[in-house]
């Protein structure tokens, strides 16, 4: 290649800091997963791993389909999804108003922040024994664990983003005659909402983590409990099917949030997050 005026022509899909087409990004994603399963399948077929501990991917997929169709995995999935959605909704209902209020009013932050930041450093699973004693083994301790696990992080992240809403915007509102709460409602909240949705997307992934912990430790229903049952009978294919289900569910929620971001905030252009 000596013709320097024609530099962009070769390998247009492999350029420094040039965004890739959506077709290319889909193909790339398929490629890496195909490669992963191919290596796994190859390793299994070649007999390099113990079949009992690492079943081949086609075995896992067959098991997964069988469980979905014949063995009631769908109800486990629905229970898990319900737990995540319900407890995450409660966490958001607390964290969004409180986080925005703390970020907007230093007086409110001064009260709640010493409390919230202390709780943030307590690992949520350390509450499992006491939650079991207080609430028994029903739904409540699981839901409480999920809420405790994310709510304090969510509050802090939303507070930080709210603080970063530019002062000029607030002062503009003041010189246009806005009162304090009017400015919170009509300037600070809309300015911070895109960041709130991004924070929700990230923290929902954390909720899934705590869900599996809760279901493994103290549950007879849900995807996590199903995996613990499978372990007792050395059904590694079922455990792996569970892992795949959780991964796919997480991915679906992530896509849902990205869609929502584009839907609610059409004015934000070219921001891929």
């Amino acid at each position: 290649m000596t013709n320097s005026s024609n530099r962009a022509a070769p390998t247009p899909w492999f350029q420094l800091r040039k965004p890739v087409s959506s077709k290319q990004s889909i193909l790339s994603a398929i490629f890496i997963w195909a490669l992963f399963f191919a290596v796994w399948e190859g390793v299994s077929l070649a007999g390099l791993v113990n079949d009992l501990l690492v079943p081949a991917p086609h075995t896992v997929l067959t098991t997964l389909v069988d469980m979905l169709v014949n063995r009631g995995l769908v109800s486990d999935i629905l229970i898990s999804v319900w737990r995540v959605v319900f407890s995450f909704s409660i966490a958001c209902a607390v964290a969004i108003p409180l986080g925005v209020a703390m970020g907007a009013f230093p007086a409110i932050e001064a009260v709640f922040n010493p409390f919230v930041s202390a709780w943030r450093y307590l690992p949520a699973p350390s509450f499992i024994p006491i939650l079991l004693m207080w609430f028994g083994t029903g739904e409540t301790p699981k839901l409480v664990l999920l809420v405790i696990g994310v709510v304090f992080f969510l509050i802090t992240i939303i507070m930080d983003h709210t603080r970063e809403v530019r002062t000029e915007l607030v002062e503009t509102g003041l010189t246009l005659g806005g009162k304090r709460w009017t400015i919170v409602r009509t300037i600070i909240l809309p300015a911070v909402l895109p960041h709130v949705l991004t924070a929700m997307r990230q923290m929902l992934a954390v909720t899934w983590t705590y869900l599996v912990i809760a279901e493994i430790v103290a549950s007879t229903t849900g995807v996590g409990a199903m995996m613990m049952r499978a372990r007792r009978f050395l059904h590694t294919d079922e455990i792996m099917a569970g892992i795949i289900v959780i991964g796919v569910l997480g991915l679906c929620f992530d896509i849902l949030f990205r869609r929502a971001h584009r839907w609610f905030f059409p004015y934000i252009q070219d921001r891929r997050n």
Binding site: L169, L176, G177
Partner: protein
């Protein structure tokens, strides 16, 4: 220098805005303080365009923020139409150097924002919004979002939004400072046209001598460390007129003389600061 007159007294019955013996000290913590403004007194008349000119650190933005009510003077007071300014109010709208468009609202939503939060009825609101969008030449962009606009257009949205709210005083803190030279030129000429139509008293902070002379019916020249009013300059060569064309003003005989005089004062300032 017949163009320049010294004024240290605060009086005048026609005064719209009075800055009366204002000082400002900022605390730096641990008992240390910095004197931002040592003493400032001047008046702005009804429908006047007043430019506050000075190098950085002269406290010109601080004075403007005190006019807006976003800062309080340490001593002295500011009065608009005779009443003391104690806090921000829709009577004193401010345009900042940084873009302050509300990204989640369209151009129309931005311009009508002030009227909406102040409860102006919808028919009147719509009509005024359109009037001020047209005034800043943004007709056709009503439904565009700020992210789709250039810097100059964003500042025009900010000016329209402030004026549509019908303030007694339009305050601007280097509103064209972030724009390229050509856009700035157009915006300055546009602002003269706006002043004609909107009949608003305007105070603009700038460090651009050309801008201060072209736009200012009165120029408050401030010196720094600590900030004080060095001279109040009325560019007599404009004979009390406003010109739509900036080129015409720069071509006038008195322009070069005044520009040189102000540059000399700025250089003296710089020399004093070095010492």
């Amino acid at each position: 220098m017949s163009d320049i007159q010294h004024t240290n007294t605060v009086a005048a019955a026609s005064a719209k805005l009075v800055v009366d013996s204002v000082t400002k000290r900022f605390s730096l913590g641990k008992g240390r303080e910095v004197q931002a403004i040592a003493d400032a007194s001047f008046i702005v008349d009804e429908n006047e365009i007043c430019t506050i000119l000075g190098s950085s650190g002269c406290g010109k933005s601080t004075i403007l923020r005190m006019m807006a009510g976003l800062e309080r003077p340490t001593t002295g007071e500011l009065r608009l139409d005779g009443s003391v300014i104690t806090g921000p109010d829709k009577e004193r709208g401010m345009v900042f150097q940084a873009y302050t468009s509300f990204d989640w609202l369209t151009v129309r939503g931005n311009v009508e924002y002030g009227m909406r939060i102040n409860g102006v009825p919808k028919p009147e609101r719509r009509a005024r919004t359109q009037k001020f969008i047209d005034l800043v030449n943004l007709g056709g962009f009503e439904d565009a979002y700020p992210s789709q606009l250039s810097g100059g257009m964003k500042q025009r949205v900010a000016i329209a939004r402030t004026l549509a709210n019908d303030p007694a005083l339009l305050l601007m803190d280097e509103p064209f400072g972030a724009l390229d030279a050509e856009t700035r030129w157009h915006m300055q000429e546009l602002l003269v046209g706006i002043a004609e139509t909107a009949n608003t008293t305007m105070v603009m902070v700038t460090h651009d001598i050309e801008e201060a002379i072209y736009l200012g019916d009165k120029i408050v020249f401030m010196s720094s460390h600590p900030g004080r009013v060095h001279k109040i300059i009325v560019p007599e060569f404009k004979q009390g007129k406003r010109y739509k064309s900036k080129e015409e003003v720069i071509g006038l005989d008195g322009y070069g003389v005044l520009e040189k005089e102000i540059m000399r004062m700025m250089q003296e300032q710089g020399a004093n600061d070095e010492r």
